[in-house]
Symmetry: D2
Subunit: 383 residues, 4 copies
């Protein structure tokens, strides 16, 4: 694994736990953790349970005892690490968004395709696909329970930078993060919308905003945490604070998206509602064990959104854990991700979402930025 | 009153009830009902409690025993009736949207301005402003409880025409209704967003869709109800089934709107959420007695969206009815509207929302249609 | 109508409105209002729309222009007024609880039975039976959708006397009110539980509490409102502040009840959940347009409590009002009550809940008080 | 650890994970797993990550490499194992309910007291105390935010044995489980009620029911899972299916409890609401990351139950995991339990809930059974 901040911690918990709950074709061993800071990487490895440490990821991908590389760094290094790892014959799990630019994503998708021919697997870590409720939503749509899809409305609402004194962490810097709310959380709802509906966005029209243009410098900036710069020093926020966009689905439906870090009181509200001719689905990650389903084929007198508590043995992933009613948390989405990845490796299949899927999300994000820069004009997404 | 369909029925209930709950400066008398069909108008008058009947609204506005004209007809006749009534010196309450076109709305607003100089009052019936929870939301924003407004997301979701066999009622015909979901329900969320925030939309980018282009003819079409045409006859739907649009508020915030009649399972979900730097508000008409308020100035450990059950004596309108906890329904928004209108007449003030406010909504709707017809391009709203 | 406080106001609104929405076999005329205070009764009649006034209810029941007597007084006068009215051949609608004692209720039920033989109708005003969602719940149980009933848990939670300075209104005095939370709101959940399940309580075990024993005197005490006594004067609360009790249903299920005026934050939370072998139902009056239904016969993967928004044309009562999605309020339960009462009168049938039903509730309340006074011992309810 | 069924699996995950998220004074090593079946215990140890196996728990407590014994067996063996382990100088974490009888619980509490004098620690595993929202509720009450406690209503609703064909697993047999819903889940709500309020139940009045008296035999019965006996063989259910009881708190409030396995649609609804003179709290484990708080000291116009999403860094336990908004699941309550236990061992303090706390719960359960067997008569709980 490369990186040990927020994503590194939760991926570690997934690698540590997955074998106790799923019958896997290959058993993961937490071999090597890579990070630039010698002291911190060693401390993280000790705490998170990694057996060895490398301070240069290039050494890590050379090692014979490494079969899988899990890329948990900021987006600006994804392409370099992932491509090198694939070329070295390592299976690669890469955090999202796949890259900071379409060009990088294209290179990664090409590398993944080449690697796949040699049996080397790759997957982009859109973990929300592995929320049992989201996977169940996909199942319902695939089974035709919703009929023709007319509407998707998806939001990813957070509020962690509402305070103007919150410092200029790496996620607020374009060179490191690529974009702001758009790439960080907007990418999730774009992927989820395309995953659940089984359709692509054909184009978008968009607006973005940066509400607070200057912020105190952070001494360092890892993940969501950040220290303080020298008193009084500020820097410029170079990414969006929020993005709203509308689009069309390949099946003709309308879609509406909003990604923001300024929705006070919403902490991690990754929401999606899908309305079809035969039914509707609604999900909010802040109640992640629930999927709301409206079956429009029932008599009107007894129809209504029902709260499916997605903890039954027949639900995706859920049966592996506890008896019905004993809900899962955020981390379990990563355990499921790792489980699917290991199964694909063991079974010799290509896991999803692929790097090509990650590229498609990147193309949507790029179209959003283009539209926002061009009078919100309709901007097609390459298909 | 002119018209006795859905709106006529609920306005009648408001006129009938208001005096028993509010101390009014003028007491309403339900004098004359106007409708084209002699039989039906007489039957409606008997059922709804109107003392007399006119089959030509021009006769109605001539009568000396009529001081107020309540216009409850489809939008294509609003301008003619309302302007004539104002010129005849009658106070006018006009259903929304104010008109089917900006030109008509401009003429109406001009007529209203002239009438106001003579002490003749006019109001457009955006009844959702009079939901106690919505009025409370406005109060919170006006008091500064939300700080700077960063986001508005508003939706008006219905599902009554999902069935392709639902007939071609007047609301689906451009010549009568002006537009579809956009004008009928989109107008409400535009007005509510501007009312609650106290800001204007400066421009929009939009998409619209008509999912079902042909429908069975309706023999007649009054309100939401409709009979059947001859077997097999169909006609073309000439309005939008759904509209999604994004925009900017005059204060710099981002806004997102969606109006649709194809959201299966959502019956009358008029929703608005507002996020500000100090707090947030959330409302859904399907739970109309509740306003959700997040006070971001509280310590994070005890903050969260709270459900204010808007039935306290200190809440707008609510105190006039029952003790706390005994909620109101849809019709009461009209009782409150009529109460405010009568108070303005009695007190010699101009009620809100004015025809000018109605015009401003119409300008937004027009900008939405222009943008949708022009590659979703950013379309400013005249200020 | 006798009485014009809280109940009188809402009954008046029902009599005033019902004819505009329901086709009735007899048309109500709001003839005479009776109240002891000359001035106040006259003012109330003017505001509420009653044509005439009597200051002695005995005069009211002598009048030829009175066919129906609606008893909206405190419980201590129900028996005398209702029995006299029935004997005078007037149909009687009597507020709940039917009486303050079982003896009074027995006399009233006997009078009602005698009157029925002469075609004179009587009904006790358990208005919550006429919430569309509650009526729908009854329909589901009657249709067998829940299977065998295993559990009822019902609560009626209010908080209006939490403040120790709230005065000693009549509802806190045993001689006027009979009991406290138990009779006032506990009676509703007992009736609702028996109505929805179609079963009787066979016995109970109970605890009651009076949390605040002394309160300031109220100068006068009508309904929930109250003025202040002389500074410093207090009086003793002679009723329960809260009652909790458990019991068995005639079908073998367990039932749990709680009635309190000390549940801070709960304003009018009249709640009932019923669990059966095939499904469950849940209702809370604070969201009165919703019935939650779990269909246990569905596959576990797609089952869950669904929110039926009880505003469809096929739902009890709801179709008479507005299109789907436009909810009703507290007052409409009384319009429905009056509608059913008038239909029974017009059709020559005996309406429900009968005075005998009211007696049965009174017997449960009496058993609760006996059990609470007798070490919570199991106390059978006469069947 | 002794036992590897449901509880053993979740305890293992806690032992495995806790060190990666909390700074602990002692680092746990998963040394030995004990179970009677040689094959199954070995397989479980391999899957769950235990280094060694013993097939007799008496051998396990003799081992020098064992410092802590975690008792995850059915209740009938708790006393023997826990007392022996304590006497052997091992710290003991024991699953709930502490024992199957008061006598056993008394012996265990006495053994724990003796052991504590020698620095040997013991704790009973009422894991719901370690739900962050429940711990926060306790904090609010302890800080006086609720004022005087007037009401507790607690329910633990499940539905896993509604089907009459569900087999006679050990949890339905009195000799193994002690009691049914009462001991298994009723014990949790009794402990939680006493923990959150900081008060004791002084007495109870109770009803119990066994709805399905005969069930198919289970070939084996471990945890909630069960195989089938020979076709047609049935056995008698010797425990309660449901228990309802009411009681008084030591501070004078009223309490109401319900534990059932027959609430169709409720999967693991461990709920508690507390109403005090200054505020109220409400919790439902099916939405375990939420605590609802009503602050009655706010102006009535802005008060209401607020949803505190208990994922902030300042919330109990939550800060150790992920950024705000990324919720936890069922298993984390055990990680928190183990963390507190290890801290107490490392710091030389006695952890809570103690065996004495477990005894107090057992005394309540016993009083419930006595009352239910004795006409629901009020039955004091020894203090």
């Amino acid at each position: 694994m490369v990186g040990y901040a927020f994503m590194g911690r939760v991926h570690s918990q997934a690698w540590r736990s997955v074998g106790a709950f799923f019958d896997l074709p290959v058993a993961p061993v937490m071999a090597v953790l890579s990070g630039r800071s010698e002291d911190r990487t060693a401390a993280a490895a000790a705490q998170l349970g990694w057996a060895a440490v490398e301070n240069d990821w290039k050494e890590l991908i050379k090692r014979d005892d490494v079969d899988i590389v899990d890329v948990c760094t900021p987006g600006d290094s994804h392409a370099e690490i992932a491509i090198a790892a694939l070329e070295a014959g390592k299976h690669v799990l890469c955090e999202k968004p796949l890259a900071n630019t379409v060009a990088e994503a294209e290179a990664m998708a090409a590398a993944a395709e080449r690697a796949a021919e040699r049996g080397v697997r790759s997957m982009v870590a859109f973990n929300y696909r592995r929320v049992p409720a989201v996977a169940l939503a996909r199942r319902f749509v695939a089974e035709g329970r919703l009929g023709e899809i007319r509407h998707v409305r998806a939001q990813y609402l957070q509020d962690w930078i509402v305070d103007p004194e919150f410092p200029l962490v790496w996620r607020l810097q374009r060179d490191k993060a690529g974009s702001g709310a758009l790439g960080d959380i907007g990418s999730h709802i774009v992927d989820t919308a395309q995953f659940v509906t089984g359709q692509k966005l054909t184009g978008v029209s968009a607006l973005t905003a940066t509400f607070i243009g200057e912020r105190p410098l952070a001494e360092e900036s890892a993940g969501l945490a950040a220290g303080a710069g020298e008193a009084g020093d500020t820097g410029t926020v170079t990414v969006d604070d929020a993005a709203v966009f509308i689009g069309r689905l390949s099946g003709g439906g309308l879609a509406s998206f909003e990604a923001t870090r300024f929705a006070t009181g919403r902490k991690n509200a990754m929401r999606i509602e899908v309305n079809g001719s035969l039914g509707s689905l609604s999900f909010d990650f802040e109640a992640m064990n629930e999927l709301w389903f409206h079956d429009h084929t029932l008599p009107a007198e007894e129809a209504g959104f029902r709260r499916i508590y997605v903890t039954e043995s027949g639900h995706p992933y859920a049966g592996a854990w506890w008896p019905p009613g004993h809900g899962l948390g955020y981390e379990h989405t990563f355990s499921h991700e790792v489980k699917d990845f290991l199964e694909a490796i063991g079974n010799g299949t290509d896991p999803e979402p692929s790097f090509a899927d990650g590229l498609r999300v990147q193309q949507v994000l790029s179209a959003v930025e283009q539209s926002a820069a061009n009078e919100s004009r309709w901007t097609p997404v390459p298909q």
